[in-house]
Symmetry: C2
Amino acid sequence: MSQNDSAAGATQDLPTIADLHQAATRIKPYAHMTPTFSSTGIDARVRANLVFKAENLQKAGAFKFRGACNAVMSLDNESAQRGVITHSSGNHAAALALAARLRGINATIVMPDNAPAVKKAAVASYGARIKFCESTEQAREATVARLCEATPMELIHPYNDARIIAGQGTAALELLAQSPQLDAIIAPIGGGGLLSGTAIAANSLGIKVWGAEPANADDAARSLAAGRIIPVVNPDTVADGLRTSLGPLTFAVLRNSIEGIITVDEAYIVEAMRLIWERLKIIAEPSGAVPLGALLQHGAPAGVQRIGLIISGGNVDLDTLPWIQA
Amino acid sequence: MSQNDSAAGATQDLPTIADLHQAATRIKPYAHMTPTFSSTGIDARVRANLVFKAENLQKAGAFKFRGACNAVMSLDNESAQRGVITHSSGNHAAALALAARLRGINATIVMPDNAPAVKKAAVASYGARIKFCESTEQAREATVARLCEATPMELIHPYNDARIIAGQGTAALELLAQSPQLDAIIAPIGGGGLLSGTAIAANSLGIKVWGAEPANADDAARSLAAGRIIPVVNPDTVADGLRTSLGPLTFAVLRNSIEGIITVDEAYIVEAMRLIWERLKIIAEPSGAVPLGALLQHGAPAGVQRIGLIISGGNVDLDTLPWIQA
């Protein structure tokens, strides 16, 4: 890993392309090599040649398994035997639970008590211990601290962790091997783990990267413009996976490695999600449709024709689709 | 092709495994080699090891492209220049339109005037000429006959055609190459083109085949039991692709080549469809979920553990999902 970017407040070394390659080797026995998809109809619509990387078809339904698996499988035996812990109401929770089960160690997931039943069930189905807390960042972190004081465990943060970033970057490594002709990649950004890993992978080949985030949760765009992390507070967006704020480590990676952040209005996120379902015949969650939403709303960035888009996940409540009024 | 089974009223030679291999070679430059999917959660639910063949990810969203492509690409130049014609309100219409476009010839599609707008748009988007008629079998056939009298064209029937059956059978050929350990395959049955081709492919390797159809459209089960074609009349089933009756050719193939037909209640079809969306993260239309519905309702056939299921298509009206009350 390269030297600590202390100016940005990062508390760990920044992950490098070598870390990504090690992660790819480490997770290979466990993770899916996900397929890519294309659609002449969607290409005609956005006047670009798109390649969709289907991380919705990844284990546990999202790219999150890559980072969680890399973190869990890289623990030494002593650390592993203490078990792992995280706080998450979303895809990272299920991913860490599954990775821990595959290594045969305990996982503790701190979830807000108002998390959707389907997410609680997914985490429980992988055999993890669930601890509920109030639905605030402070309550989550306090609960983790209290549990770790009683029983020391390895904290695997959802994104502000070099092992996680390196794991998430393996999706872009695969995509760039599957589609060597790409000019650029667009990935969604919430906490920044996926986009950081994507940038490290793409930069190593001189390929441009943009992030895409909901206009209603544009903290990444504002943070990078301001040069400091501006947290988001209760954003109102259908893209439930992108409601988190950057961490010091992801901020440190992203400030020097991407072309910019494209913000997307809610209507375009929903339209993009539906277009992926209709044309590609695969289930994308709203967050996973944000990169296509960016192209629908703004068109392709200037000078860029062949674009890889990462469909980050496919975990959706099928009872409440955003284009159907209940 | 083998000799005509005149006792069954078949008007063409029955397709053979050699015809399937020729079809596979013929369509290879145009059709997708579709991927397979598995789910430990679904396997646990039905107590069997399932491999789903994702023909919903085929061109034009259904296995139908295989047969249509084989038929169109096997025409001699003189026949091809006259153009092709069919009657269909569903996936065969779009598939034939696309295959004709790929060969650069004209396609005429006779559709009932009450066909869904989305299906009309799909056919039109491939450049086919659409002729509307009343929504009865007689009106469709009379319209085709009238059009062909004015301008001779090559009729490509949706299923009662050896070229179509051979093309549809290439899905099972691929599946058996992708998953050589299967004990059996279950495919949906409407007109019988897919199931006939599947049986020819599987029989050549000694692998058992079952058909699955809605209990509300159980004409195939009744026809095979009676030893004669019993047409279905206006069946009430969510599986819109399986409302057709057997033809003489598919009846002749199926009567000697399958283990049986499993009938499935509507609730199990909907549950299976939802399970595929939720666990496999891919869009199956109701007809494509009928084989899994058969296993949910009845369990695996005795003595069969590793089962291939063909997800026949993924063309769904996303505004009206069968598990959401409007």
